[in-house]
């Protein structure tokens, strides 16, 4: 089994072409990047705004609960017929839309909590120094809440990379396609190729986030905390 896997990934032709490892990895990461960007644009501004206003705690909690209750495969599958009906076709768009929906809750809640938990006296002091509201946000509140904001983006990104795998079932030509084809053709080597590639992507991106988080918040040791979302 392991031999078969090594044999598979060491054949040059398995790396090239539109169903090759290189192309599918690129598609997978490209889609994930686009999703994270889109979700950040949608989720972060309202999270910053509500966090500043110290309002919407109930909304933030509800967003987490709903986000967690909706199984990713269910939302992906449900968007498939909708996408076909409205002429967006299969593959990229239903996967993209489903992943954006999934990425919003962790980003929103963590960013909201991050901004909200900034010490009010610090905000007060920066206002007293004559900073305008926008300056207070960009120079005080966002840097102070950066650890949590980054945690949210990281959780969302990992979830997106994982779920993009499921996109294979709605025709997205990413790394999940190896797994999907591996199941159908009972080809263990193909199956393992997909599994290893996706797991590697997730682990590498997680590592990169760890390094970036440490760089951008040198004053604080980064914490990886699964409980962030669960505190009630």
């Amino acid at each position: 089994m392991f031999r078969a896997f090594v044999d598979y990934v060491t054949v040059a032709s398995h790396w090239s072409g539109t169903s090759g490892i290189a192309h599918r990895t690129e598609e997978h990461l490209r889609l994930s990047g686009a999703v994270v960007l889109a979700a950040a644009v949608i989720a972060l501004p309202p999270a910053f705004w509500l966090g500043r206003a110290r309002r919407g705690g109930f909304l933030a909690q509800s967003v987490v609960n709903v986000g967690r209750a909706v199984p990713s495969l269910a939302i992906l599958a449900l968007l498939f017929p909708i996408s076909l009906r409205f002429g967006f076709g299969l593959g990229f768009w239903p996967t993209f839309a489903a992943l954006v929906i999934l990425a919003i809750p962790p980003m929103f809640t963590n960013a909201y909590t991050g901004i909200r938990s900034v010490d009010p006296s610090v905000v007060d002091a920066s206002q007293g120094m004559g900073m305008r509201p926008f300056e207070v946000l960009t120079r005080v509140e966002i840097p102070s809440g950066l650890t949590l904001i980054m945690t949210g983006v990281r959780i969302a990104t990992l979830q997106v990379i994982a779920t993009a795998t499921l996109g294979a079932y709605v025709g997205f030509n990413g790394l999940g396609s190896f797994i999907n084809e591996g199941f159908r053709q009972r080809d263990d080597a193909k199956l393992l190729t997909g599994a290893v590639a996706v797991a590697l992507c997730a682990l590498v991106v997680d590592l990169v986030f760890g390094v970036v988080a440490r760089r951008v918040t040198p004053w604080r040791a980064p914490e990886i905390n699964l409980r962030k979302e669960s505190e009630s």
Partner: protein, 224 residues
Amino acid sequence: MIATDKDSFIWWDWVGRHTAQIQSATYEHLRLTLLAVAIGFAVSLVLSAVCLRFRWTFTPIAGFAGLLYTIPSLALFAFLLPITGFNTLTAEIGLVSYTLAIFVRNIVAGVESVSPAVIDAADGMGLTRLRRLATVDVPLAAPAIVAALRIATVTTVGLVTVTGLIGQGGYGSFIESGLSRNFSTEIVVGGGLSIVMAVALDAVLVGVERIATPWTRARPRRGT
């Protein structure tokens, strides 16, 4: 999108003719979920006890569980398939591994957050270590433990949908078949019911939490 024929978003005729399948899928989905949560919880209790007794074990145990948690679900099942085959064991190994990261961190954090003064008082009353754990630490950590149960259960319901893709029944099998035949009714039934099950189980656990921790209601928490 009015339900009149098989091209509509959801075709109620089909639903009416497949109630038996829907029932058995519900049973399978629930069984896989509860089994995974129960095994995961039991394993995590042991791991958490080890972490609390021998502090240095927390970092490697939590780190390993976190690593498992990072592996995408479909990839993990794909890893296991060539070894354990298309069966419940494959599904359960994957499902249980995912619950570990959630449980261990929450249980350990919950027990650790018990106030030192309370522990001091319990020790002063002459409780043995085990007795203190059972009558003081665990009840006070109950909200954190139930919170972990809620997250683990809801997450597992979603993951069981994925095990449907490797032929383990449950709602995922409707989604799989609906996607491969491009038949939206099956997708809507499978996807919709798994959301309903997640929300329902979450609501049940909220109820359990309220019953198990009556003291949290007597002293409402105030906003900071």
